[in-house]
Symmetry: C2
């Protein structure tokens, strides 16, 4: 093993038969065989103020590292809700402290969102919070070109342990019932409307596979270090002054939330615009927010720009289908990914031929992801990045998902249209991915076992 | 055991400790203890032309039998798609033959749907096919009154074996990709639009737990025995003349569909109208079309009329969430149900207090069912039964499901609104139940295990 450290603190290790740490050695060995490479490199990409882009994707970002197809990269991803509880999610963690640093003179990460850098639109701050997710990357894949498919195998996912010694062995996450949630204008109790943050605790020792709620508080206007008042959660990473909110402890007493660690936002850079808000998902992936995108699964993305430019962020400890109130348990996670490039010329006759949408493969299922607008940047024209927030519906997303699943069944399983439609009605499950990300999502799940049977 | 036969061929048996046939003896013993009754009755309700109502619910139907709370009833339910393949789904089965009987002078069951009996609206036939499901019942529950809750425990579900000796040991079902399906105006291949029937085969010997497709055919205009031509599938039970269609064998070759036997339509009579189209589901249940309503689960319905008037029909061998093309694998099934009445006065302080919607309990989950309009007959006024087909959307159904799940969590788990909303976002899954039943449906699933944990 030959380790060295590069710019941004990225570490590279060349590994042969055995894999270090938490990486699945079998998977690596398999990859080596499959790719006919005697060694593959294993990179480590830490999350720091220098390695994240906050709230946007861009084809113009300089890659932090260039990998070869088959290489493995450990990527630290951090939640953009960490400042909801500084003590539990930032304090003592050098990477988090550098990312969230913000005083009167400077911010660790200036731009947060795809809006104007001078905040001339709403005055909320640089980037205007038009896009919120802290994404680590991008990672360039050598030789990737538009028309290729990038497969991202998630070999491992681990919570980022709390660095504050007071909370050793724990990890924490925040759930914000926010103004962009489905519930916001449909509340029963006063005050209406309101935003509520709930802080959850997870275990990092392996003892428990569930989260529990600790306390919640109603969002109260917060003044950021630059003097801007945030009456609602309108800009990411605003420090929450806990002297201004009322913590209610003992909420969701005795309720255990099963852990479903996954990456809410993961994908490649779109071609259609220079700076793209990280919130609406699209054909290149991004903020899909499907809790099944976790360990042991593979995402396939159509490459849209040279080098693909892969990034990951928006880590979640758990989420329900719909992500109803606007967020999941937003909790920093570290993932181990293997990036495999499928060149367009090699796709003919394979299941990946003509794939134009993000596809998830789990050990037992295939999932297609439909959106109200499959490629909203192209579909909605010049004002796409604002119009997407007013034009989405579940009906449109259902339409797109139907079409994608039909395409998937016809192209990868060789079914006729009539066969595909009948099968979809009797054996494919459609679920609500999310109703909170501008471009609303529905997914369709087909079991692989359908296709493994012979004639009886 | 004391058996006797009553009107309509209904058999009654009084059972004490042991349960006959396929009924779960443990469940019955439990029920006896729970209900403090030394014996409970077990009825058998066959499906014949005299025991079914076709295409509608009605509070004015005369009950076939009156049961006491806790009694068990075996109900034969039959599919309304059996005439798609007479040889496999009707021939040799006396009950099916009597139900489907139709010649120039008479029909076994005249009314099919809630439309005018003289077919003066569209000329399709008596009842006009405004409602299509063959429902067996109704069953009166002694002492049931509006405000009570009827629990329906599904103790067993079995396919109805094919009675044609040529196909011994098999059962068959039909899937219609029909004009009311989500795909109908969005097809790729010619001819457009088209309706396609696919015939599926299941095994009744217990050897296989999957279905396979046999053949499909495109619907061609069919002339019924009364001389009415049906260019599309616009009236239920029209005999399909197979000399007029082209069977394509070998479709979905090597594809195995996991069996999920369930009742698409099951519920109690609504109070709001005299004759109610069986297609749109509502607060009293009906055509919910959730494939999880199978063996080992319990449905809870708000009672709307005296005696509740429970019926079951629309049996499915399997269905996917969404029921995309308009139908499932429509296949006759026989169910064993235990009917338990919860009187309004006993509900206070229980999880069933203030339940105003159909709730499903499985061994591991609770599911609430939301619709575009929770009680469309009341919500949409005088023209509700036609307007419901033009006003539904998944967005409205999502709204209703959110409200019902919030209500469920607040009333049955004692959560505050803020707790319920956070929990919904991080641990409750929303899925598309169906987009083809007029009143579109979304369901929300919450795992029981969330609530079984103690403090850590």
């Amino acid at each position: 093993m030959d380790d060295h450290t590069t710019l941004y603190g990225i570490q590279e290790a060349r590994v042969s038969t055995a894999a270090p740490g938490s990486i699945d050695a079998t998977a690596l060995a398999h990859a080596q065989t499959h790719l006919q490479r005697s060694t593959i490199s294993h990179y480590h990409l830490p999350a720091t103020d220098q390695t994240v882009h906050w709230g946007y994707f861009s084809k113009h970002l300089t890659p932090l590292v260039t990998v070869l197809s088959g290489d493995v990269i450990t990527i630290e991803t951090v939640t953009h809700h960490a400042y909801d509880d500084y003590e539990r999610m930032i304090k003592g963690d050098p990477g988090m402290e550098r990312i969230y640093a913000w005083d009167q003179t400077r911010k660790g990460v200036q731009r947060r969102g795809a809006g104007p850098i001078d905040a001339s639109l709403f005055g909320r701050g640089a980037g205007e919070g038009l896009g919120v997710h802290i994404c680590t990357g991008p990672v360039a894949i050598q030789g990737a070109e538009p028309g290729d498919i990038l497969a991202v195998r998630i070999l491992d996912v681990q919570p980022r342990p709390c660095a504050n010694p007071t909370y050793q062995g724990k990890s924490f996450g925040s759930n914000a019932a926010a103004w962009w949630g489905f519930q916001y204008h449909d509340l029963l109790e006063e005050p209406k409307p309101r935003e509520v943050i709930t802080i959850y605790e997870m275990d990092t020792t392996g003892e428990h596979d569930w989260a529990r709620a600790l306390y919640n508080f109603r969002w109260m206007p917060q003044t950021d270090p630059g003097g801007v008042v945030h009456p609602i959660i309108d800009y990411p990473g605003v420090p929450v002054d806990h002297s201004k909110v009322q913590e209610q402890w003992g909420v969701l007493k005795n309720v255990r939330i099963p852990i479903r660690p996954h990456f809410g936002t993961m994908g490649v850079a779109p071609a259609e615009a220079d700076l793209v808000d990280s919130i609406p998902p699209s054909y290149t992936g991004g903020n899909i927010d499907n809790w099944r995108i976790g360990k042991g699964t593979t995402m396939y993305y159509p490459v849209a720009v040279p080098s693909a430019l892969f990034s990951a962020g928006d880590p979640h400890a758990s989420q329900g289908d719909a992500e109803l109130c606007g967020t999941a348990i937003e909790c920093s996670l570290t993932g181990v990914f293997q990036l495999i490039l499928h060149k367009q010329a090699t796709l003919k006759g394979t299941p990946l031929e003509s794939l134009t949408y993000p596809l998830l493969e789990t050990p037992t299922e295939f999932l297609v992801h439909g959106f109200s607008f499959p490629n909203y940047l192209a579909d909605l024209g010049a004002n796409a990045q604002s119009d997407i927030y007013t034009k989405s519906s579940l009906g449109l997303a259902m339409r797109d998902t139907f079409r994608k699943m039909r395409h998937f069944l016809m192209t990868t399983q060789g079914l006729s249209e009539d066969e595909a439609i009948s099968l979809m009605s009797v054996a494919v499950d459609f679920g609500v991915t999310q109703v909170v990300d501008g471009n609303w999502g529905i997914h369709a799940i087909v079991q692989k076992s359908l296709f493994t049977g012979g004639e009886s």
